[in-house]
């Protein structure tokens, strides 16, 4: 168990000790991949940032280099449409050679890979034909668990994106300007936070003589922006927005000591957290619209004059405040460290997946040249090919760094970017198409102007890096951690399908009732827990535990 945790934390800690040689950057995959020209039929979404994938610069460059031609079978990129198309193509038996970037989640993997045997197991190919990916796996043993299907085979290759500050994304931003005006200290405990919010509410920090201040505001569709999750973590681990928005997210966590999966919703800590939140809410310290409004409304309220917002949770403040157009406001908000709860618990959930999405590249059983497809994918697991893929031509769009140039972390840089990123459709590189391999090495190795003002658009990455390292990494959850992505057998997901929807609906409904005071925590709690069990909480936890043990326990 301990070893698992260590590997999980390894990515987070890696930020401080990075250094690599250029040789590590180059691809180990020999080119060309094949002597005879091979054509692969690839199913992929049409990325709007790319004008025409078949005429794209990287497509041509990579074809020349690898001697592999691609026949594109394009699908829409919007996720539900893509899923529908994928299902139909498979249902109709029109298998391409490869599904790339097709958002095949764990359920589809089980269904089409494990049950239907339509996907090719890649374990042998990884050993034989994929030196780059093999090296990556060796360096990141935790990834193996995430990409392994329930039958122990690997059917898909992941997208790698090691975003350091995204790993500790439950951040709270507080109005420093108001703190200073009212001569308050940055709060460090839940009680201090409550006092600060109360002062924001009552002492008119915006000085307009009206009590129009909103001490704490959240919204439902931004990034880690739920009004309750950050605060709840001081009582019991609340994973916030862990998975795709719109999917069912029953909050669970793993007790690191025992390796048991727990559900947040029946924990005693959760009960105390609800009491705390309901106190804040009843005194008007949490904005009532927080639980219904979306980012659109959030942005309008926070950018209104006079300033009315005292604190808000978000993965990054720039998501809701424009660092350029609203720089003064942007500067007012600084991150605070996780708060110490009444029992001394102080933690921030660590989202340890450098693996952004699984099954980014899946070879089907219809493929006649699986080894060619595997090698074609493997080259993209090197920083070198990645530069060409994401940016384009060397010398024009990017180049290796010169001596003396420094990276984001202040150490010698590895590469320099010449073209500003733009969302305008273009045809010089692949943007989000193909396999992304953004390692921490790559991110920190980009030449960065040193000594920039962190509270500007330019200093954004630096600010987030410093904030995360200084305020959040010390509190990365260690006793309660996030359950890594679980995979279920068909029978298990059959059992889970309605239970999960029912449990989730009941739990969030009650959560709101407890916070807003329409249900009493003292009186109604026992009945609530009883009802959770009636709805199948025990069964849910048993399946979770089984799935967790199968996937991760006893493995490295």
């Amino acid at each position: 168990m301990k070893r698992l945790l260590l590997t999980m934390l390894a990515v987070a800690m890696v930020a401080t000790g990075l250094q690599a040689q250029k040789s590590e950057w180059l691809s180990k995959q020999p080119m060309p991949i094949t002597k005879e020209k091979v054509t692969l039929k690839i199913f992929a979404p049409q990325i709007p940032e790319i004008q025409d994938i078949s005429a794209n610069w990287f497509t041509k460059w990579y074809e020349d280099k690898s001697n592999v031609h691609v026949d594109w079978l394009l699908a829409p990129s919007e996720s539900s449409a893509l899923r529908q198309k994928l299902n139909l193509v498979i249902a109709a038996g029109d298998l391409p050679d490869v599904f790339m970037n097709a958002r095949i989640d764990a359920n589809l993997e089980t269904r089409y890979g494990v049950d239907e045997k339509l996907f090719m197991p890649l374990n042998d190919l990884i050993d034989k034909d994929m030196p780059n990916f093999k090296a990556y796996l060796a360096q990141n043993p935790g990834v193996r668990g995430m990409i392994t299907a329930i039958d122990g085979k690997i059917y898909g290759l992941p997208n790698v994106n090691e975003c350091y500050h995204c790993g500790l994304s439950q951040k709270m931003w507080i109005n420093k300007d108001w703190l200073d005006k009212l001569h308050l200290k940055v709060p460090t405990t839940t009680e201090e936070f409550y006092q600060v919010m109360k002062a924001f509410k009552e002492k008119d920090p915006n000085g307009n003589g009206k009590k129009d201040e909103i001490p704490l505001m959240g919204c439902i569709d931004s990034w880690q922006s739920y009004a309750d999750s950050f605060l709840m973590c001081s009582f019991a681990l609340d994973t916030g927005m862990q998975y795709a928005f719109g999917s069912i997210e029953l909050r669970t966590f793993l007790d690191a000591k025992t390796g048991r999966v727990k559900c947040l919703y029946d924990q005693p800590g959760y009960r105390d957290g609800l009491k705390y939140l309901s106190r804040l809410y009843s005194e008007g310290l949490i904005y009532s619209g927080s639980f219904t409004q979306k980012q659109d409304q959030f942005k309008q309220i926070i950018s209104g004059t006079p300033e009315v917002v005292g604190a808000f949770p978000n993965g990054a403040s720039c998501v809701v405040i424009d660092p350029v157009a609203q720089n003064e406001l942007y500067r007012h908000f600084v991150a605070i460290a996780p708060l110490k709860g009444p029992t001394g618990l102080r933690q921030s959930p660590y989202y340890y997946d450098g693996v952004a999405t699984v099954n980014r590249f899946v070879i089907t059983t219809a493929c006649k040249h699986p080894e060619v497809a595997a090698r074609w994918a493997d080259a993209m697991y090197s920083c070198e090919i990645q530069q060409y893929r994401a940016w384009g031509e060397k010398g024009k769009a990017w180049d290796w760094a010169k001596k003396g140039e420094l990276g984001l972390d202040g150490k010698p840089a590895m590469w320099t970017n010449f073209v500003p990123y733009s969302t305008e459709p273009q045809n010089l590189n692949w943007q989000q198409q193909g396999i992304e391999f953004q390692t921490a090495l790559n991110r920190f190795g980009q030449t960065t102007k040193q000594g920039v003002d962190p509270y500007t658009a330019e200093g954004l990455e630096t600010m987030l890096l410093n904030t995360t390292r200084d305020l959040y990494e010390p509190w990365a959850g260690k006793t309660q951690v996030i359950v890594p992505p679980l995979k279920y057998t068909t029978a298990e997901s059959d059992d889970l399908q309605t239970i999960l929807v029912e449990l989730n609906r009941y739990a969030v409904d009650r959560k709101m009732a407890f916070i807003m005071g329409s249900a009493s925590i003292e009186k109604d709690w026992d009945g609530y827990v009883k009802k959770l069990n009636e709805l199948g909480l025990d069964k849910f936890l048993a399946i979770q535990q089984k799935a967790y043990d199968r996937q991760y326990a006893g493995k490295k």
Binding site: G93, L108, R111, G246, I248, G289, T498
Partner: protein
């Protein structure tokens, strides 16, 4: 008017069916094409309904997939919130039919009575336009208008001395918000069909009514409305055939943790279950259940209409 005597009659004095068919062969020739069409595009795929009772396996095809019997129905009907979800769907749908039935007719009548041609055309154009606003933006506009701090509704309430209300957070208001915003978006588009029907009203009848001394209100009531009643009745009956088919997207976008008790409908429930279990069977089974309920309601509405001496669907 007599039927030409050359047509053979049966005992009850009605033209012999076969002979009539021969005589009106052209009617059958006409309907042949549409029948072939629905044969290919609607009836041929009907075998897919068996997926409601099977676990679909792409490698074995629909026919070769394994039977699971009534499993999906059982899962649905034994889930604790099943009836709540069905009720939410039914109530929001019937509410919507009622509102979206009355107002477009009223709008069409009002437009029809407007003498000023330019105003009439402009009014038609404006009321027709919101139909083309996409659902995402539509829901965005709803949230904006009803926002506790920014929304125009709350601003008016506060100016009048009331307190801010978070409309989107009130489960009891969800259905009204859904239905009235739907009316807002669809009133002009739905009114078009009644405008067309009204333009078919015979001017002679109007003339006659005027001679009889009817005022405008009486003419609307006694001439216009009876003339378009068949269209109204048919539209109403048919809408009962879609009671269970409340669309997914708008409801889903309007859902939040506070209103789930009234905003969870069949479509969103099936969607959520489908995310967990990538299986066509569950969705097909619930679709079949919806269809059956729709049939019952449609047949019911049709026979009520017939009892009231109105034209039915068949």
């Amino acid at each position: 008017m007599t039927v030409p005597s050359s047509i053979p009659r049966n005992r009850r004095g009605r033209p012999n069916a076969l002979a009539s068919m021969v005589r009106h062969w052209q009617l059958y020739a006409m309907i042949l094409l549409p029948v072939v069409y629905i044969g290919i595009f609607n009836y041929l795929p009907m075998y897919g309904v068996q997926l409601a009772f099977k676990r679909f396996s792409p490698s074995r095809g629909i026919a070769g997939s394994a039977w699971v019997g009534l499993k999906y129905f059982q899962i649905f009907f034994t889930s604790p919130s099943c009836w709540q979800v069905v009720w939410n769907t039914l109530s929001v749908s019937v509410y919507s039919i009622a509102i979206n039935f009355f107002f477009p007719i009223a709008l069409a009548v009002a437009l029809n009575e407007t003498q000023h041609k330019g105003f009439r055309k402009t009014a038609q154009m404006i009321t027709y336009a919101p139909y083309f606003i996409s659902t995402v933006v539509m829901v965005g506009l709803i949230m904006q208008v009803l926002d506790p701090r920014l929304g125009i509704v709350n601003r008016i309430v506060v100016t009048l001395g009331g307190a801010e209300t978070n409309f989107m957070g009130k489960p009891e208001l969800f259905k009204s918000i859904y239905v009235w915003s739907g009316l807002w978006q669809g009133i002009g588009y739905s009114a078009i069909i009644y405008l067309a029907a009204l333009s078919g009203v015979s001017p002679e009848l109007q003339e006659a009514a005027i001679i009889d001394g009817c005022n405008r209100g009486q003419r609307i009531w006694n001439v216009d409305l009876p003339s378009i009643t068949p269209t109204i009745v048919i539209m109403l009956i048919m809408s009962f055939g879609f009671v269970m088919s409340v669309g997914f997207e708008k409801v889903f976008l309007m859902q939040n943790n506070l209103n789930l008790s009234s905003s969870e409908i069949i479509a969103t429930y099936v969607y959520k279950v489908g995310l967990i279990n990538a299986d066509f069977g569950f969705a097909t089974a619930i679709g079949l259940f919806n269809s059956v309920v729709n049939v019952v309601l449609l047949v019911g509405a049709n026979s009520i209409a017939k009892k009231m001496n109105q034209p039915g669907l068949w």
